[in-house]
Symmetry: C2
Subunit: 142 residues, 2 copies
DNA sequence: AAACTATGTAGTAACCATTATAAATAGAAA
DNA sequence: TTTCTATTTATAATGGTTACTACATAGTTT
Protein backbone atom coordinates (compact mmCIF):
# COMPACT_ATOMS: atom_id res chain seq x y z
CA UNK A 1 0.00 0.00 0.00
CA UNK A 2 1.24 3.49 -0.79
CA UNK A 3 2.04 6.14 1.84
CA UNK A 4 -0.96 7.78 3.49
CA UNK A 5 -0.21 11.14 1.83
CA UNK A 6 -0.55 9.67 -1.67
CA UNK A 7 -3.73 7.86 -0.73
CA UNK A 8 -5.15 11.06 0.72
CA UNK A 9 -4.53 12.74 -2.64
CA UNK A 10 -6.28 9.88 -4.45
CA UNK A 11 -9.23 10.21 -2.08
CA UNK A 12 -9.57 13.94 -2.68
CA UNK A 13 -9.51 13.30 -6.42
CA UNK A 14 -12.62 11.13 -5.98
CA UNK A 15 -14.31 13.74 -3.80
CA UNK A 16 -13.75 11.70 -0.63
CA UNK A 17 -12.52 13.08 2.65
CA UNK A 18 -9.62 11.87 4.78
CA UNK A 19 -11.44 11.57 8.09
CA UNK A 20 -9.65 10.43 11.29
CA UNK A 21 -11.38 7.06 11.01
CA UNK A 22 -10.27 6.54 7.39
CA UNK A 23 -6.75 7.70 8.20
CA UNK A 24 -6.46 5.17 11.03
CA UNK A 25 -7.91 2.35 8.93
CA UNK A 26 -5.49 3.15 6.10
CA UNK A 27 -2.58 3.22 8.55
CA UNK A 28 -3.53 -0.17 9.93
CA UNK A 29 -3.91 -1.56 6.40
CA UNK A 30 -0.56 -0.25 5.23
CA UNK A 31 1.16 -1.69 8.30
CA UNK A 32 -0.41 -5.17 8.10
CA UNK A 33 1.12 -7.57 5.61
CA UNK A 34 -0.60 -10.69 6.96
CA UNK A 35 -3.56 -10.62 4.51
CA UNK A 36 -6.01 -9.59 7.24
CA UNK A 37 -9.76 -10.04 7.18
CA UNK A 38 -12.08 -7.09 7.75
CA UNK A 39 -12.59 -8.26 11.31
CA UNK A 40 -8.86 -8.39 11.99
CA UNK A 41 -8.48 -4.84 10.72
CA UNK A 42 -11.47 -3.80 12.79
CA UNK A 43 -9.99 -5.19 15.99
CA UNK A 44 -6.68 -3.42 15.39
CA UNK A 45 -8.55 -0.16 14.75
CA UNK A 46 -10.48 -0.52 18.02
CA UNK A 47 -7.24 -0.45 20.03
CA UNK A 48 -6.75 3.20 19.04
CA UNK A 49 -10.32 4.36 18.41
CA UNK A 50 -12.69 2.12 20.35
CA UNK A 51 -15.83 3.79 19.03
CA UNK A 52 -15.25 3.16 15.31
CA UNK A 53 -18.02 1.04 13.80
CA UNK A 54 -17.58 -2.13 11.82
CA UNK A 55 -19.53 -0.47 9.01
CA UNK A 56 -16.90 2.24 8.64
CA UNK A 57 -14.18 -0.38 8.34
CA UNK A 58 -16.18 -2.23 5.67
CA UNK A 59 -16.84 1.01 3.80
CA UNK A 60 -13.22 2.16 3.89
CA UNK A 61 -11.89 -1.21 2.79
CA UNK A 62 -14.37 -1.21 -0.09
CA UNK A 63 -13.22 2.27 -1.11
CA UNK A 64 -9.56 1.25 -0.93
CA UNK A 65 -10.33 -1.78 -3.07
CA UNK A 66 -12.11 0.41 -5.62
CA UNK A 67 -9.08 2.71 -5.70
CA UNK A 68 -6.87 -0.33 -6.30
CA UNK A 69 -4.88 0.26 -3.13
CA UNK A 70 -5.63 -3.18 -1.76
CA UNK A 71 -6.74 -6.41 -3.38
CA UNK A 72 -8.92 -9.33 -2.42
CA UNK A 73 -7.24 -12.71 -2.10
CA UNK A 74 -8.70 -16.22 -2.03
CA UNK A 75 -10.33 -16.71 1.36
CA UNK A 76 -10.55 -20.52 1.61
CA UNK A 77 -13.72 -20.31 3.61
CA UNK A 78 -12.31 -19.36 7.02
CA UNK A 79 -14.00 -16.27 8.29
CA UNK A 80 -14.24 -13.83 5.45
CA UNK A 81 -12.43 -12.25 2.56
CA UNK A 82 -8.74 -11.54 3.06
CA UNK A 83 -6.99 -8.46 1.74
CA UNK A 84 -3.52 -8.03 0.36
CA UNK A 85 -2.16 -4.65 1.32
CA UNK A 86 1.20 -4.88 -0.41
CA UNK A 87 1.69 -2.65 -3.42
CA UNK A 88 4.44 -4.73 -5.00
CA UNK A 89 3.48 -7.59 -7.31
CA UNK A 90 4.16 -10.87 -5.58
CA UNK A 91 2.85 -14.39 -5.31
CA UNK A 92 1.48 -16.56 -2.55
CA UNK A 93 2.02 -19.91 -0.94
CA UNK A 94 -0.93 -21.38 0.92
CA UNK A 95 -0.35 -24.09 3.52
CA UNK A 96 -3.38 -26.34 3.69
CA UNK A 97 -2.43 -27.47 7.20
CA UNK A 98 -2.11 -24.18 9.11
CA UNK A 99 -4.13 -22.30 6.47
CA UNK A 100 -1.59 -19.50 6.34
CA UNK A 101 -0.98 -17.46 3.20
CA UNK A 102 2.72 -16.66 2.81
CA UNK A 103 4.19 -14.11 0.42
CA UNK A 104 6.69 -15.29 -2.17
CA UNK A 105 9.37 -13.22 -3.83
CA UNK A 106 10.10 -13.18 -7.52
CA UNK A 107 8.66 -11.71 -10.68
CA UNK A 108 5.36 -12.84 -12.21
CA UNK A 109 5.66 -15.08 -15.26
CA UNK A 110 4.83 -13.52 -18.60
CA UNK A 111 1.22 -14.00 -19.71
CA UNK A 112 2.31 -14.46 -23.33
CA UNK A 113 3.27 -17.98 -22.43
CA UNK A 114 -0.28 -18.98 -21.53
CA UNK A 115 -1.95 -19.60 -24.87
CA UNK A 116 -3.92 -17.57 -27.36
CA UNK A 117 -7.00 -16.96 -25.23
CA UNK A 118 -5.42 -13.76 -23.99
CA UNK A 119 -5.17 -12.28 -27.51
CA UNK A 120 -6.83 -8.89 -27.47
CA UNK A 121 -7.43 -8.88 -23.72
CA UNK A 122 -6.22 -6.10 -21.44
CA UNK A 123 -4.02 -7.70 -18.79
CA UNK A 124 -3.94 -5.76 -15.55
CA UNK A 125 -2.50 -8.07 -12.93
CA UNK A 126 -1.58 -11.66 -12.37
CA UNK A 127 -1.38 -13.78 -9.31
CA UNK A 128 0.20 -17.16 -8.77
CA UNK A 129 -0.81 -19.24 -5.78
CA UNK A 130 1.19 -22.31 -4.82
CA UNK A 131 -0.59 -24.85 -2.64
CA UNK A 132 0.97 -27.41 -0.33
CA UNK A 133 2.30 -27.87 3.19
CA UNK A 134 4.80 -25.46 4.72
CA UNK A 135 8.08 -26.65 6.29
CA UNK A 136 6.80 -26.04 9.83
CA UNK A 137 3.72 -28.20 9.37
CA UNK A 138 5.76 -30.90 7.67
CA UNK A 139 8.00 -31.13 10.74
CA UNK A 140 5.01 -31.36 13.09
CA UNK A 141 3.57 -34.20 11.02
CA UNK A 142 6.57 -36.39 11.85
CA UNK B 1 -12.93 -34.32 -13.19
CA UNK B 2 -12.27 -38.00 -13.77
CA UNK B 3 -14.81 -40.47 -15.18
CA UNK B 4 -17.59 -41.49 -12.80
CA UNK B 5 -16.27 -45.05 -12.53
CA UNK B 6 -12.92 -43.91 -11.16
CA UNK B 7 -14.59 -41.56 -8.74
CA UNK B 8 -16.87 -44.35 -7.59
CA UNK B 9 -13.78 -46.42 -6.81
CA UNK B 10 -12.27 -43.53 -4.85
CA UNK B 11 -15.52 -43.24 -2.89
CA UNK B 12 -15.58 -46.92 -2.00
CA UNK B 13 -12.00 -46.64 -0.81
CA UNK B 14 -13.13 -44.05 1.74
CA UNK B 15 -16.10 -46.18 2.75
CA UNK B 16 -18.60 -43.92 1.00
CA UNK B 17 -21.46 -45.18 -1.13
CA UNK B 18 -22.32 -44.18 -4.68
CA UNK B 19 -25.96 -43.29 -4.16
CA UNK B 20 -28.17 -42.15 -7.07
CA UNK B 21 -28.00 -38.59 -5.74
CA UNK B 22 -24.20 -38.61 -5.55
CA UNK B 23 -23.91 -40.21 -8.96
CA UNK B 24 -26.06 -37.50 -10.53
CA UNK B 25 -24.21 -34.68 -8.77
CA UNK B 26 -20.89 -36.12 -9.89
CA UNK B 27 -22.16 -36.43 -13.46
CA UNK B 28 -23.29 -32.81 -13.46
CA UNK B 29 -19.95 -31.72 -12.03
CA UNK B 30 -17.89 -33.65 -14.54
CA UNK B 31 -19.92 -32.22 -17.42
CA UNK B 32 -19.79 -28.58 -16.30
CA UNK B 33 -16.57 -26.70 -17.11
CA UNK B 34 -17.95 -23.23 -16.31
CA UNK B 35 -16.71 -23.10 -12.68
CA UNK B 36 -20.23 -23.43 -11.28
CA UNK B 37 -21.40 -22.41 -7.82
CA UNK B 38 -23.17 -24.88 -5.55
CA UNK B 39 -26.47 -23.30 -6.49
CA UNK B 40 -25.80 -23.70 -10.21
CA UNK B 41 -25.01 -27.39 -9.70
CA UNK B 42 -28.12 -27.73 -7.56
CA UNK B 43 -30.37 -26.28 -10.25
CA UNK B 44 -28.94 -28.62 -12.88
CA UNK B 45 -29.47 -31.58 -10.56
CA UNK B 46 -33.10 -30.60 -10.00
CA UNK B 47 -33.86 -31.00 -13.70
CA UNK B 48 -33.31 -34.76 -13.39
CA UNK B 49 -34.12 -35.41 -9.74
CA UNK B 50 -36.41 -32.64 -8.47
CA UNK B 51 -36.51 -33.93 -4.91
CA UNK B 52 -32.78 -33.72 -4.16
CA UNK B 53 -32.03 -31.32 -1.32
CA UNK B 54 -29.57 -28.49 -1.39
CA UNK B 55 -27.83 -30.01 1.62
CA UNK B 56 -27.00 -33.16 -0.32
CA UNK B 57 -25.41 -31.06 -3.05
CA UNK B 58 -23.36 -29.19 -0.45
CA UNK B 59 -22.32 -32.45 1.19
CA UNK B 60 -21.35 -34.17 -2.04
CA UNK B 61 -19.36 -31.19 -3.25
CA UNK B 62 -17.56 -31.05 0.07
CA UNK B 63 -16.73 -34.76 -0.22
CA UNK B 64 -15.49 -34.35 -3.79
CA UNK B 65 -13.32 -31.45 -2.65
CA UNK B 66 -11.88 -33.57 0.17
CA UNK B 67 -11.12 -36.32 -2.34
CA UNK B 68 -9.34 -33.75 -4.51
CA UNK B 69 -11.69 -34.34 -7.44
CA UNK B 70 -12.73 -30.70 -7.60
CA UNK B 71 -11.12 -27.54 -6.38
CA UNK B 72 -12.33 -24.21 -5.03
CA UNK B 73 -11.52 -21.14 -7.09
CA UNK B 74 -11.58 -17.46 -6.16
CA UNK B 75 -15.20 -16.37 -5.91
CA UNK B 76 -14.92 -12.55 -6.15
CA UNK B 77 -17.94 -12.11 -3.91
CA UNK B 78 -20.75 -12.89 -6.36
CA UNK B 79 -23.00 -15.53 -4.88
CA UNK B 80 -20.81 -18.21 -3.45
CA UNK B 81 -17.70 -20.31 -3.91
CA UNK B 82 -17.00 -21.54 -7.45
CA UNK B 83 -15.64 -24.98 -8.23
CA UNK B 84 -13.24 -26.10 -10.89
CA UNK B 85 -14.08 -29.55 -12.13
CA UNK B 86 -11.24 -29.97 -14.63
CA UNK B 87 -8.67 -32.61 -13.81
CA UNK B 88 -5.94 -31.13 -15.98
CA UNK B 89 -3.71 -28.44 -14.50
CA UNK B 90 -4.58 -25.12 -16.09
CA UNK B 91 -4.78 -21.43 -15.34
CA UNK B 92 -7.48 -18.80 -15.32
CA UNK B 93 -8.23 -15.40 -16.76
CA UNK B 94 -10.78 -13.34 -14.86
CA UNK B 95 -12.56 -10.49 -16.65
CA UNK B 96 -13.46 -7.81 -14.13
CA UNK B 97 -16.19 -6.46 -16.42
CA UNK B 98 -18.34 -9.53 -17.11
CA UNK B 99 -16.90 -11.37 -14.07
CA UNK B 100 -16.31 -14.52 -16.12
CA UNK B 101 -13.52 -16.94 -15.31
CA UNK B 102 -11.96 -18.32 -18.51
CA UNK B 103 -9.65 -21.31 -18.70
CA UNK B 104 -6.18 -20.81 -20.15
CA UNK B 105 -3.99 -23.41 -21.76
CA UNK B 106 -0.32 -23.88 -21.05
CA UNK B 107 1.92 -25.41 -18.45
CA UNK B 108 2.31 -24.06 -14.94
CA UNK B 109 5.50 -22.14 -14.23
CA UNK B 110 8.10 -23.88 -12.12
CA UNK B 111 7.93 -23.12 -8.40
CA UNK B 112 11.74 -23.11 -8.12
CA UNK B 113 11.73 -19.66 -9.60
CA UNK B 114 9.74 -18.12 -6.76
CA UNK B 115 12.31 -17.55 -4.04
CA UNK B 116 13.64 -19.46 -1.07
CA UNK B 117 10.42 -19.43 0.97
CA UNK B 118 9.45 -22.72 -0.67
CA UNK B 119 12.57 -24.50 0.58
CA UNK B 120 11.45 -27.58 2.44
CA UNK B 121 7.78 -27.14 1.60
CA UNK B 122 5.69 -29.84 -0.08
CA UNK B 123 4.25 -28.35 -3.27
CA UNK B 124 1.01 -29.95 -4.35
CA UNK B 125 -0.56 -27.64 -6.88
CA UNK B 126 -0.21 -24.19 -8.34
CA UNK B 127 -2.67 -21.83 -9.87
CA UNK B 128 -2.09 -18.69 -11.89
CA UNK B 129 -4.91 -16.17 -12.28
CA UNK B 130 -4.60 -13.35 -14.78
CA UNK B 131 -6.84 -10.34 -14.21
CA UNK B 132 -8.03 -7.82 -16.76
CA UNK B 133 -10.73 -7.18 -19.33
CA UNK B 134 -11.64 -9.76 -21.96
CA UNK B 135 -11.72 -8.91 -25.69
CA UNK B 136 -15.54 -8.93 -25.77
CA UNK B 137 -15.88 -6.41 -22.97
CA UNK B 138 -13.16 -4.24 -24.48
CA UNK B 139 -15.17 -4.00 -27.70
CA UNK B 140 -18.35 -3.09 -25.85
CA UNK B 141 -16.53 -0.32 -24.02
CA UNK B 142 -15.88 1.49 -27.31
C1' DA C 1 -19.85 33.53 12.31
C1' DA C 2 -24.27 31.33 10.77
C1' DA C 3 -26.68 28.62 7.73
C1' DC C 4 -26.60 25.36 4.17
C1' DT C 5 -25.32 21.24 1.76
C1' DA C 6 -23.06 17.12 1.04
C1' DT C 7 -20.60 13.50 2.99
C1' DG C 8 -19.37 10.30 6.78
C1' DT C 9 -20.34 7.60 10.86
C1' DA C 10 -22.70 4.55 13.91
C1' DG C 11 -26.04 1.24 15.06
C1' DT C 12 -29.32 -1.88 13.77
C1' DA C 13 -31.70 -4.86 10.82
C1' DA C 14 -31.77 -7.61 6.71
C1' DC C 15 -29.52 -10.82 3.47
C1' DC C 16 -27.67 -14.91 1.83
C1' DA C 17 -24.30 -18.69 1.39
C1' DT C 18 -23.03 -22.21 4.25
C1' DT C 19 -23.11 -25.42 8.21
C1' DA C 20 -25.24 -27.87 12.07
C1' DT C 21 -28.88 -30.57 13.86
C1' DA C 22 -32.46 -33.95 14.11
C1' DA C 23 -35.75 -36.93 12.11
C1' DA C 24 -36.85 -39.99 8.27
C1' DT C 25 -35.10 -43.37 4.94
C1' DA C 26 -32.50 -46.85 2.54
C1' DG C 27 -29.35 -50.62 2.17
C1' DA C 28 -26.51 -54.10 4.01
C1' DA C 29 -25.50 -57.48 7.42
C1' DA C 30 -26.97 -60.81 10.70
C1' DT D 1 -37.17 -59.86 9.40
C1' DT D 2 -34.51 -57.20 12.58
C1' DT D 3 -30.76 -54.42 13.45
C1' DC D 4 -27.23 -51.36 12.33
C1' DT D 5 -25.03 -47.75 9.85
C1' DA D 6 -24.75 -44.35 6.41
C1' DT D 7 -27.49 -41.03 3.76
C1' DT D 8 -30.86 -37.84 2.74
C1' DT D 9 -34.07 -34.36 3.81
C1' DA D 10 -35.94 -30.35 6.05
C1' DT D 11 -35.28 -26.84 9.08
C1' DA D 12 -32.81 -23.95 12.11
C1' DA D 13 -28.67 -21.56 13.26
C1' DT D 14 -24.39 -19.17 12.00
C1' DG D 15 -21.63 -15.56 10.38
C1' DG D 16 -19.73 -12.34 7.00
C1' DT D 17 -21.49 -8.63 4.41
C1' DT D 18 -24.68 -5.10 2.92
C1' DA D 19 -28.72 -1.97 3.38
C1' DC D 20 -30.92 1.39 5.81
C1' DT D 21 -31.78 5.26 8.95
C1' DA D 22 -30.74 8.95 11.90
C1' DC D 23 -27.35 11.75 13.51
C1' DA D 24 -22.83 14.11 13.30
C1' DT D 25 -19.30 16.49 10.87
C1' DA D 26 -16.69 19.17 7.42
C1' DG D 27 -16.57 22.53 3.84
C1' DT D 28 -18.75 26.34 1.56
C1' DT D 29 -21.45 30.34 0.85
C1' DT D 30 -23.53 34.32 2.56
Amino acid sequence: MRPVEEIAAALREKGLKLTPQRRLIIEVLSRDRSHPTVDEVYRQVLRTMPEVSRTTVYNTIREMTALGEIVEVQDYGDGGIRYDTSAEAHHHFFCRECRTLFDLDGDPPLPERYGGALEGAAIERQQLTVYGVCPGCLKKAR
